[in-house]
């Protein structure tokens, strides 16, 4: 049975204004991400891969073209609906982890649930389960400053999964980690892809990560060069 599409981009153009110049970050991108994919987007710096990830994560709207996430056209959604879409459907992992320094590991993982009406005991239960899943149950009460880079990224992965999203988008998740730790992180993500049936889209300039993906998307100068 063919896999269903979960993200679909049709002729997406994204332009930015930088002073008086208009920069075309994406110049007519069309692609499809299917449920359960572990897609790796590779391309050199400035190729538009982060912009592409922002489109797929409903963080930005296209200048022209259409972006569908879980069947919803994000160009037609207001700010609140986009936030709700991100809350329910998407988890983000960033290169610089973006953890809140004043909160401990457990609280950082629970952060996306903070504005929801979910019961505190339930939030703690879910966060603990996820920390166990990423192997950090013994570091729950530590602040980000007390964790290694790899541990911080695993906290960020747990945070991305707390809302039980269908899609996890990762922007250079190994960029700030040494090779060994980076590979552990990618393997952890792959495991979640297989065992938890999550769709992963990972943006990287590290070609060695390609071997982990079932789909390889090459992007250059704002255009899809090839998809394998």
């Amino acid at each position: 049975m063919p896999k269903q599409s979960i993200i679909e981009l049709k002729d997406v153009v994204k332009e930015y204004r930088l002073g008086k110049t208009i920069v075309r970050a994406l110049r007519g991108v069309s692609l499809e991400i299917k449920r359960g994919d572990f897609a790796i987007v590779v391309g050199p710096s400035g190729s538009g891969k982060s912009t592409l990830l922002h489109m797929m994560g409903a963080l930005d709207r296209p200048t022209s073209g259409k972006v569908f996430i879980a069947g919803k056209d994000i160009g037609l959604l207001d700010d609140w609906s986009l936030a709700m879409l991100r809350r329910k459907t998407i988890g983000f992992v960033f290169q610089t982890f973006n953890l809140v320094p004043t909160l401990n590991t457990l609280e950082n993982v629970m952060l996306p649930l903070e504005p929801t009406g979910i019961d505190e005991i339930e939030k703690i239960k879910r966060a603990k389960e996820l920390l166990k899943l990423v192997g950090l149950e013994h570091r729950m009460l530590h602040k980000p400053m007390e964790l290694s880079g790899g541990e911080r990224q695993r906290v960020a992965i747990a945070r991305a999964l707390i809302n039980n999203p269908e899609i996890v988008l990762a922007d250079e998740p190994t960029g700030n980690l040494d090779t060994k730790t980076g590979l552990q992180i990618i393997e952890a993500m792959r495991k979640l892809n297989v065992e938890e049936k999550k769709t992963f889209v990972i943006v990287t300039h590290d070609l060695s990560l390609l071997k982990y993906g079932n789909r390889h998307i090459y992007i250059r100068d704002g255009l899809i060069e090839k998809i394998r």
Partner: protein, 379 residues
């Protein structure tokens, strides 16, 4: 979210501290000013409340020490229907007490000589109006060089029954000590009216005022009108409630000044919070962008920033109340009465809360409107 907002205040402790100090000073000043206004109001109100009678003075005079009337008016007042007792009195500020000139720098409430027709005063209901005789005996008409003194004066000058006190160079024997809730009456020197005229250089046939006790206290306004009608345009008869009204008008102006100071301090404190919160938002662009990426709505972000500024207001308000209360407790040492009212404290707290909320609105709005992508770039 409350915990996160609270912890965020401690990221830049010194900056938060300075914003809180702004509120503390503002609220402290407001509490202390209100305590002074309420204290003075309470003081005067106690005096006014201690006589349920009519005060007859020269028209247009600010108080009894500036009023002069012919003593012959006594008979006319006594003939007015409804009048029970008329007490002629002279009010004089002494030049020296115990050889010392009493100035405002020594005491904000100076001693005052109250010369009174003793036989008339003794006819008043109860023990008279200037206070309860705590120790000693009441004066008689023939007690020429004997005085009753207020408790505050007795305590300050270490006087007791039988000790002597020199007023304007004349030696007097302390015959009794009078206690009163009022600080002003607590500094009173009560003596025979003729002696007061003699040592104060007051004309023999003149009085400062007449204290008029009415038969039915409920009819005091009517009796005062009758006196005004009978005595003509140079005399003014006022009831306790008339004084209350006049005084309330004066206090209202003081309150307006206190309010103006409160508003200025609130504005300064609000600018402090506004600056703190704007800086805090600018430093946390990336974090705010991340929160948005994880599904926080604009309203959630706004709520978090507003919680932070409101916390500054609340903490500043509580510390400001403590600071203002401490100030209000110290001020009486300089002779100025204070009274801390619960409602003043509550208003001050609500005020601090309100300043916190209002000052946080703009930074919260700015944070909520940040584009998540731009914010995560730290732009």
């Amino acid at each position: 979210m409350l915990k996160l907002a609270f912890l965020n205040l401690f990221r830049r402790k010194s900056r938060t501290f300075l914003a809180v100090v702004g509120i503390v000073i503002g609220i402290g000043a407001v509490i202390a000013l209100n305590a002074v206004v309420d204290g003075i109001y309470n003081e005067i109100d106690t005096i006014i409340g201690s006589f349920q009678a009519i005060m007859v003075m020269e028209k247009g005079s600010m108080d009894q020490t500036l009023s002069k009337l012919d003593e012959s008016l006594r008979a006319k007042i006594e003939s007015v229907q409804g009048v029970r007792v008329v007490v002629p009195e002279v009010w004089i500020l002494p030049q020296t007490v115990e050889g010392r000139t009493l100035t405002l720098s020594q005491s904000s409430i100076p001693a005052t000589i109250y010369g009174v027709d003793i036989s008339a005063y003794r006819k008043l209901r109860g023990n008279g109006w200037v206070g309860e005789l705590e120790k000693g005996e009441m004066l008689n008409s023939n007690d020429k060089y004997a005085v009753l003194i207020g408790k505050s004066l007795a305590d300050n000058m270490h006087k007791f029954i039988g000790s002597s006190i020199k007023i304007n160079g004349q030696k007097f024997r302390v015959k009794g000590i009078v206690s009163s809730e009022s600080e002003l009456l607590g500094n009173l020197i009560i003596m025979n009216i003729d002696t007061a005229r003699e040592i104060g250089g007051f004309p023999k046939d003149k009085v400062s005022s007449f204290y008029v006790e009415v038969i039915d206290p409920a009819e005091d306004r009517k009796v005062a009108e009758k006196i005004n009608f009978a005595l003509g345009s140079e005399v003014e008869a006022n009831t306790a409630s008339d004084f209350s009204k006049t005084f309330a008008g004066v206090i209202k102006n003081f309150r307006l000044v206190a309010l103006a100071i409160a508003l200025i301090s609130a504005f300064v404190a609000a600018i402090g919070i506004l600056n703190t919160m704007l800086m805090s938002v600018m430093e946390r662009y990336k974090e705010i962008g991340t929160l948005k990426a994880t599904g926080w709505t604009n309203a959630n972000i706004m709520q978090m920033i507003l919680y932070e500024s409101t916390f500054i207001g609340i903490i500043g308000g509580i510390l400001g109340i403590l600071f203002g209360t401490a100030l209000s407790l110290c001020i009486p040492a300089f002779g100025i009465p204070t009274l801390i009212k619960l409602e003043s404290v509550l208003y001050a707290f609500l005020f601090a809360f309100f300043v916190g909320v209002v000052a946080g609105l703009y930074p919260a709005y700015r944070a909520s409107k940040l584009d998540p992508v731009e914010a995560m770039r730290g732009a």
